[in-house]
């Protein structure tokens, strides 16, 4: 599957295209198939996302999992500061990245 990701222009936060908007949570990301480039162009022009790009991911029961570790780190947050990630209460959250 293909996902669209980028950063929020004002905050810089990592965001994921859900099919109708942008979410902080990769679990909500939608498969954009071969529509990535056109969505990317529209959304970037409207400044709803900054520096977006298309990535490969695999579908899992828990939701999409980016293929590359760099995007998994982006999706979670720094593995060395779990308190600053999107799952601060989960001590095993870093395992999802690796």
């Amino acid at each position: 599957m293909k996902l669209l990701t980028g950063n929020d222009l004002a905050s810089g936060a990592v965001t994921w295209w859900t099919g109708s908007g942008w979410s902080l949570h990769v679990e909500e990301a939608a498969d954009v198939g071969d529509q990535g480039d056109s969505i990317l162009a529209t959304e970037e022009a409207a400044r709803r996302v900054n520096a977006p790009y298309i990535i490969d991911a695999v579908s899992t029961p828990q939701g999409p999992r980016p293929a590359h570790i760099k995007d998994r780190v982006r999706a979670l947050g720094p593995t060395v500061r779990l308190d600053l990630t999107l799952k601060p209460a989960d001590p095993a959250a870093g395992n999802w990245v690796i």
């Binding site: 810089g12 720094p78 593995t79 600053l84």
Partner: protein, 543 residues
Amino acid sequence: MYKYDQYDQAIVDARVDEFRDQVRRRMAGEMTEDQFKPLRLMNGLYLQLHAYMLRVAIPYGTLDSRQMRMLAHIARKYDRDYGHFTTRQNIQYNWIKLEDAGDILADLATVEMHAIQTSGNCIRNISSDQYAGAAADEITDPRPWAELLRQWSTFHPEFSYLPRKFKIAVIAADEDRAAMRLHDIGIQLVERDGKLGAAFYVGGGMGRTPMVAPLIKDFVPIEDFLSYSEACLRVYNRYGRRDNIYKARIKILIHELGAEKYAAEVEQEFAHVKSLGIDPPAAELERIAAFFAPPAFEAGIADSVDRNDPDFAVWLDQNVKAHKQPGYAIVNISLKKTGDIPGDASSAQIDVMADIAKDYSFDELRVTHAQNIVLPHVAKRDLYAVWQKLVEADLAAANLDLISDIIACPGLDYCSLANARSIPVAQKIAKRFADPVRQRDLGELKLKISGCINACGHHHAGHIGILGVDKKGTENYQLSLGGSGAEDTSIGKITGPGFDEDGIVDAVERVTDKFIQLREGDERFLDTYRRVGFDPFKEAIYG
């Protein structure tokens, strides 16, 4: 400490206003990201994995308590309550919002700080010896000369669009504490026949193609300091490659041209530059130097220290260094407590260090390229009180230059360029060697980790170096041995196939075990490695 004059302040204030307007225009959609990116980078604002990252310049690593408190304030108000001290003697904030950038720069400007030239293909923050003005072995304080270079290079119209970024270090002692020969230009102030001058080493660097800078000129009279620097840059600007980013640094130019040919070109250019009259008049040099006059040291104070507290005595032996002034000492604050993230400090810790500097170190602090903090001028009678305050703030790790005093770049946990995480490896190694007795038995052992080939973690210069690479989508770590960033500068040699995260920790331990077997007398790891060579260690690592 240098204090801004009206021109310095006007420049910085104007830049704040300019960047605030650029941010406004970007947020309003009047600029695309492609148009905005070079502008934000000129103000130290990167877009990293999780957010914008702001790199703030700390000229030659020197700052006062007022500036240090401002760094804490920014961490608290605009970031997530911590900052990361870097191998360029700067500080980075990892969670900056674009909409706050103008306010942050305005706050920094109130304490004579900025983020100018912390990115881009320009002359970056000038680095120096963290013991400048305090070290017994220096011939003069190098910081007035670093400050002169700062003023000369700030917005220098010729050198704002160099082929690549450009890093300069200035030292004034034979012991190199600034990795001087691993800079684009490394300058060592020297004396000859009673006159001050400068030895210029040009074309060093780490990154993809590590090189130790060759000596280009052994003595430049100090009155030619700026003209000769300008000539070095001009020759690079003229001949440096712009067609290939990987071959654009000055080290590649000098490697391809040859040091002698480059030096000859510089001499020719220098003859012209000298006629332009850019070297400052003596009065201006004296004005700058006056800001770095020694503080009002007390004469005749106690030169001994009560060592009755054993924990204090360990810290004293490991983290406190000799000062040129009797009765005083240089205190190193390690930001490498076992399990900590190298170089990170909370806003509360930054405030504590500022308070201690104000009360006990003539209001001065230094940031080191090893990601630690220095209190340069502490009276020996105050050392115990300082140590107690550091203990309270969790800042009293007694491991300076030991295996757990690891340099590590932010790596893949934060950096968009990284291929592998650096920090977890540093943490695991520090935990493996957590026993302080074992660490001290190993002695000086500089371990440095980079998460990509750009080498921000100085792995090439590590006695033991680790480079994280991407191996078919998984993190892999290469080991190298025998590097040094000191006066005996050398580039480490890669041992062979890489390891996973746990494997690299085991490999490091096999190296240190072998060292214990092989060392003679009080040899450091590097001494033993250089005596016995690479093979015994390779055999120990791979069997």
